[in-house]
Symmetry: C2
Subunit: 227 residues, 2 copies
């Protein structure tokens, strides 16, 4: 399957790599990493990846369009008409339209989640409604041909679920064993409702400084995704 994965400067690398590592077990796995221009892209994890294609020369009809997120860098993309138009175009042609973390805000802003249930990063989830999507707090959501994962590390669960959905549950079970995916979160604080109040307060102090959430209603007004 042809996986067209968007990258952008500052992307959260695990958003991209969890799903792609799982997708590599799909039959005929091929990828194009696409950005406005080819070449190196610095991620948020101290690793530079290569955009192999640009918006002009990448697949027009991928099997899967995938979009990652990021706490800081997402907003530049939400306000970049070239990126949003590209996502809208490929999203209308792709068999599957997918994201992890707040990458779902990019899909939503491109009009691709109107009338769909979708997952997102816990801190941004509710804002999907601005773009006509129905936010859900599931670890992943598959609604018709839209498939979205929750925050960051949810990309592994999302990717394994997609492998099962597309190839069959027996293959999904096998990939999960090959992944040695028997997680043991060291602290048990991975969701707001699980975290102690000190941890949650700290996160709620830090994240708003990273994410220009307050700009979302204005962004929504100018986007094709507004209902």
């Amino acid at each position: 399957m042809k996986i067209l994965a968007l990258a952008f400067p500052g992307l959260t690398l695990i958003d991209l790599v969890g799903p792609l590592q799982a997708f590599s077990f799909l039959p005929g796995f091929e990828t194009q990493i696409v950005w406005q221009k080819k070449g190196p892209i610095r991620s948020d994890a101290g690793v530079t990846i290569e955009a192999t294609h640009d918006f002009e020369d990448c697949w027009e009809n991928p099997d899967i369009l995938f979009v990652p997120g990021n706490t800081k860098a997402l907003f530049a993309q939400l306000e970049d008409k070239k990126t949003i138009d590209f996502i809208a175009d490929r999203g209308q042609r792709a068999q599957w339209v997918t994201s992890v973390c707040n990458g779902s805000l990019l899909l939503a802003a491109a009009g691709l989640l109107r009338g769909y249930k979708a997952a997102s990063y816990w801190f941004t989830r509710e804002h999907l409604a601005l773009f006509g999507a129905t936010p859900t707090d599931a670890r992943w959501v598959i609604d018709r041909n839209r498939a979205t994962g929750g925050g960051m590390t949810a990309g592994v669960d999302f990717g394994l679920a997609m492998v099962s959905h597309i190839v069959g549950v027996e293959h999904g079970r096998l990939v999960e064993l090959i992944f040695e995916y028997a997680p043991q979160p060291p602290h048990g604080t991975g969701r707001p409702e699980l975290a102690d109040s000190t941890t949650l307060s700290k996160a709620l102090e830090i994240l708003p400084g990273h994410m220009a959430i307050e700009r979302l209603p204005e962004i929504a007004k100018n986007m094709p995704g507004v209902p």
Copy 2:
């Protein structure tokens, strides 16, 4: 902290990215991605990453040396004296010597795990003993300044545990919430003892074809890690 991360052609990308995404929350986070020569390195997940440094110009005394693994590509490195000598050298100078998945076999073959408890990929774990290490089936192991994670997806648990260990548990709790690390494995088959017999049989058919396990005793004979 200065993180020196080895990359090599065909590496398992999530082995590298889980830990680095967590390490990015360490104070003064800086990375060098190092290989025998600078430039693009194709991973196993359809993403090309950039080696920013080579064995000659990278940090001599990193805070953390990190080594990923891979099912197929690992063995070329185990038998490459240049790689093993480099790992042995930097491992003796680094404050922390770390790996995820069967990257621990590379540390072991470089003599760095002799007398240490270590984790590894479930399929290769027991073979650590050939190099004088004590294999354990924990999701991650911290034994003095050696810290090793289990297979592939264990890099997230390992990375969060390291952040707690180095900075403090309050910071670890916060990063786990920012990671939204509340995993929901879709199938519950992520360890041999959890998997149904059909799934386990399939894995045991596939993996030996990928991994030249039978060469390990011979490799061990010629390596500085032999007790």
